[in-house]
């Protein structure tokens, strides 16, 4: 054991490895901050470069890009409300209002702290609990997934903003939109209207960019009120009390990230929203969420970065890639002649330790690179809006085109921009739409798969994991709805007393 660890450290401590991590994180942060260019894409494009590198160096380069990319997404989410990566969509909810208030620097800093802490917690889970977590993850079949997704869907209650009804409508529209394309089981076309471009479904990134970033652009051109409140964005810093207050949120978000990251196929976006929903539920002032609550940023960013290390758990312990990024990393392993899985812990344990060491260093590097990046990126908030907004629009167009090199995606993006604008005007939150869009297919797939596997409804209560998530779903619905009704009643009473003049404000 000690021999293996020292052999692993020996394998890790080379200049090349440090350079790979540094380069990876820098590339990741940069690419991640550009809407439309995702961490996944960057990892995939970097794969060929790893062929000629030693295994540890190559894998660490990819891991660095992945970690950097997930944090990088928060930069544009906060500054221009265009999530750089899908996982940063949730960060816009409070990050952008903070930036509008002149606290861009503070929001970015909190995003970085939350990301790095979550990253460390995620790494520790990978290093010390991989075997245990992986064996639980392997017990997730279709029915277990079904209930996990059902539970996750209850967060729509927490992110619906001022009106639960409108939030539910928004969520259902998301589910409906997610059914466009080829049916999973029969391959039949659904809601494609014979349009060839819709056969593959509605693009995730065009929808995301359109829904979140474009409404701001439209709003600007309609009102022209255009500037951010006086800000010296790089001067605002996270204070110690703020950090201390957010710490429980960050730890909770990290654990949620670890849990969702270690079961294949769920992903960082769902984790960040779930973390956000839980943070709001736990807060004494849930009404501040969506209006620039620093804990909202902390929750979102700890949720998505908590996933980063944990997705490697099923990959290293079982040889099963949980998402596209880990599939690419699996490819990198295989091309080096290595097969991740239980055997790797026997045959190449030194290599595993070297990777672990590298991942911890990557968390530190992320912090350093992130500090440097936000100091410079934060200046974007100082750009006059009449210059910034056209640039945002340009990035939106470029970003949606870049995903598949299809002009159709740009049209989709613009259409969702208009939809997002209309929704904002009628006070309907757009976050539930996104959640419905992401989780809808998982919900449907696993429902149908469960039936295909067993052809018997009893399959839905076949294991303790099912029961656990059934209970969690019911509890979450009960607590969530009760809380929403209470606050609605409170708001009504206040309004009747004439103490609440403000009306129609939304997330």
């Amino acid at each position: 054991m000690m021999d293996a660890i020292s052999a692993g450290l020996g394998l890790f401590f080379t200049l090349q490895n440090f350079l790979a991590i540094g380069a990876g994180v820098m590339i990741g942060v940069t690419i991640g901050s550009i809407p439309g260019l995702t961490a996944t894409m960057a990892v995939a494009l970097a794969l060929p470069f790893t062929f000629s590198l030693p295994p540890v160096t190559g894998i660490l380069l990819l891991v660095g890009i992945y970690k950097g990319g997930i944090f990088g997404g928060s930069i544009s989410a906060i500054l221009i409300r265009a999530p750089g990566t899908p996982a940063a969509a949730c960060t816009t909810l409070d990050g952008y209002p903070m930036a509008r208030r002149g606290e861009a620097g503070k929001a970015l800093e909190m995003a970085l702290y939350a990301s790095c802490i979550a990253d460390v917690i995620s790494n520790l889970a990978l290093i010390f609990l991989a075997g245990m977590i992986a064996s639980i993850a392997l017990q997730f079949g279709a029915p277990e997934y079904f209930w996990l997704i059902a539970f996750s869907l209850t967060i729509v209650i927490s992110i619906s903003g001022s009106s639960l009804t409108k939030g539910l409508i928004s969520g259902l529209v998301g589910v409906l939109l997610s059914t466009v394309g080829l049916d999973l089981v029969y391959g039949t076309q659904r809601l494609t209207f014979d349009n060839f471009n819709l056969m593959g479904g509605i693009g995730y990134i065009p929808l995301l960019i359109g829904l979140f970033a474009i409404p701001e652009v439209i709003e600007f051109y309609l009102q022209r009120t255009g500037h951010l409140e006086a800000n010296k964005s790089d001067r605002t810093r996270v204070s110690w009390p703020e950090f201390r207050r957010s710490l429980p949120t960050i730890v909770r978000g990290s654990l949620i990230g670890v849990a969702l990251g270690s079961v294949p196929g769920i992903g960082a976006t769902a984790a960040s929203f779930l973390s956000y929903g839980e943070a709001r539920r736990a807060s004494k002032h849930p009404e501040t969420f969506g209006r620039g609550e620093i804990q909202g940023v902390a929750a979102a960013e700890s949720g998505n970065n908590g996933v980063a290390g944990a997705t490697l758990i099923p990959l290293l312990a079982l040889g099963i890639p949980g998402d596209v990024v880990t599939a690419v990393i699996l490819g990198a392993f295989m091309l080096q002649g290595l097969t991740p899985g239980p055997l790797m812990f026997q045959d190449n344990i030194d290599l595993i330790y070297a990777l672990f060491a590298g991942m911890i260093v990557a968390s530190v590097v992320l912090f350093v690179v992130g500090r440097f990046a936000i100091r410079h990126f934060a200046r974007i908030a100082d750009i006059p809006r009449h210059i910034l907004i056209p640039m945002v629009l340009l990035f939106c167009v470029f970003g949606s085109y870049a995903v598949q090199n299809q002009m159709f995606d740009v049209v989709v993006m613009l259409a969702f921009g208009v939809l997002g604008f209309v929704m904002a005007r009628v006070g309907m939150a757009s976050a539930p739409l996104l959640i419905g869009f992401i989780l809808g297919p998982l919900f449907e797939d696993n429902l149908r798969r469960s039936y295909l596997i067993a052809n018997d409804a009893a399959v839905f209560i076949r294991s303790p994991i099912c029961w656990f998530f059934i209970a969690a779903t019911v509890l979450s619905l009960y607590v969530g709805l009760r809380k929403e009704m209470q606050s609605a009643r409170l708001a009504r009473q206040l309004a009747e007393k004439g103490q609440l003049a403000e009306k129609g404000s939304t997330v």
Partner: protein
């Protein structure tokens, strides 16, 4: 007015024709004179993409010209394929074809936007990957014959990476040949299906060898047979379905394959040039190492051999799809 328009149009067309003719002649001599693009109908990072980037790198070095990969994913690879079919046939836009675009999709989709035969000229067959019939480690059959005996009268399930994939249709082919009653359970990618196989939620899968290899080595799933015509060097003890002596499975062959094609109308001289260069690249050490690590067999050969192979694939899959009734209207 009309006559003038018509005259102008005729002249213009003639001009274009002349220009094209001239241009083609000029191109063939000093091809490639500029950047060459290979369209990949899948996202970056997938098996097809990684392969295309390997080939592109090799060709770049051989030609001293940049060869780039352009990802045009969507609609189960048919979107990018349709776009490649409409690209200018000047040899500067190539296409990384595979079993889906030029084998299965033409059989499955009724409203396809390309004709796999008429819109393309095959250049070279690059690699093939066998599928492997795998069962959970505790499954009560040690051979394919035992599997068939167990499956008779029971409704077993077979997993796949998605409807219309080679993994799905290999299963359908097995099902229709043996007359077994099996339920198809599609997942999104092998990565999701393999855990379900390990835990026994699904009973069997005809997975692409590379995505099953890790688990086969770890002993969590058990290979009963491979679907290629010959045994797989990395699994020498695993028989092919065809060699088992089971009459229904005689000649059973279902592989995933990859090869370069160009839009129809590309100058045959250019096709020959690309074929020669690619054969050179894929017989080189770098590519051989890559293929070995990846579990794929390097094929190579002439454009004619590749064309014959594609014809066979189109016929075979059309037959499987018809018997399985998985055509999409």
């Amino acid at each position: 007015m009309t006559t003038i328009t018509r005259r102008v149009a005729t002249a213009a067309l003639a001009g274009i024709g002349l220009g094209l003719g001239f241009a083609t002649g000029a191109y063939a001599a000093d091809y490639p004179a500029k950047r060459v693009t290979i369209i990949v109908p899948y996202s970056a990072g997938g098996a097809t993409d990684v392969l295309a980037r390997q080939v592109a790198q090799g060709l770049s070095e051989a030609w001293g010209q940049t060869v780039t990969v352009e990802n045009r994913p969507g609609a189960g690879a048919t979107l990018g394929t349709a776009q490649a079919a409409r690209a200018r046939p000047d040899g500067y836009t190539l296409f990384m074809g595979q079993v889906s675009s030029h084998g299965i999709a033409p059989a499955v989709y009724a409203n396809l936007q390309y004709d796999a035969k008429a819109d393309f000229v095959p250049i070279v067959w690059i690699t093939q990957i066998p599928n492997v019939m795998v069962v959970p480690k505790d499954f009560e059959a040690a051979s394919v014959q035992e599997f068939i005996d167990v499956a008779k009268g029971e409704n077993l399930s077979f997993g796949s990476s998605g409807t219309g994939s080679s993994i799905h249709l290999s299963g359908e082919m097995f099902k229709s040949r043996t007359g077994l009653d099996m339920t198809h359970v599609p997942y999104r990618g092998s990565g999701e299906a393999v855990p379900a196989l390990i835990s026994g939620d699904i009973d069997v899968m005809f997975d692409n060898l590379p995505s099953a290899m890790a688990q086969i080595k770890a002993g969590t799933i058990r290979p009963l047979a491979v679907t290629s015509a010959e045994r797989e060097p990395s699994l020498p003890d695993v028989p092919t379905l065809a060699e088992l002596g089971i009459p229904e499975l005689e000649g059973f062959e279902a592989v995933a394959w990859f090869g370069l094609l160009a839009p129809a109308g590309t100058d045959p001289a250019i096709v020959e040039a690309i074929n020669a260069a690619t054969n050179e690249v894929i017989s080189g050490e770098a590519f051989q190492t890559y293929a070995a690590a990846n579990g794929s067999a390097v094929v190579g050969g002439t454009p004619e051999e590749f064309a014959t192979f594609i014809d066979g694939e189109l016929t075979k899959w059309a037959d499987v799809v018809e018997k399985a009734g998985v055509r999409v209207e």
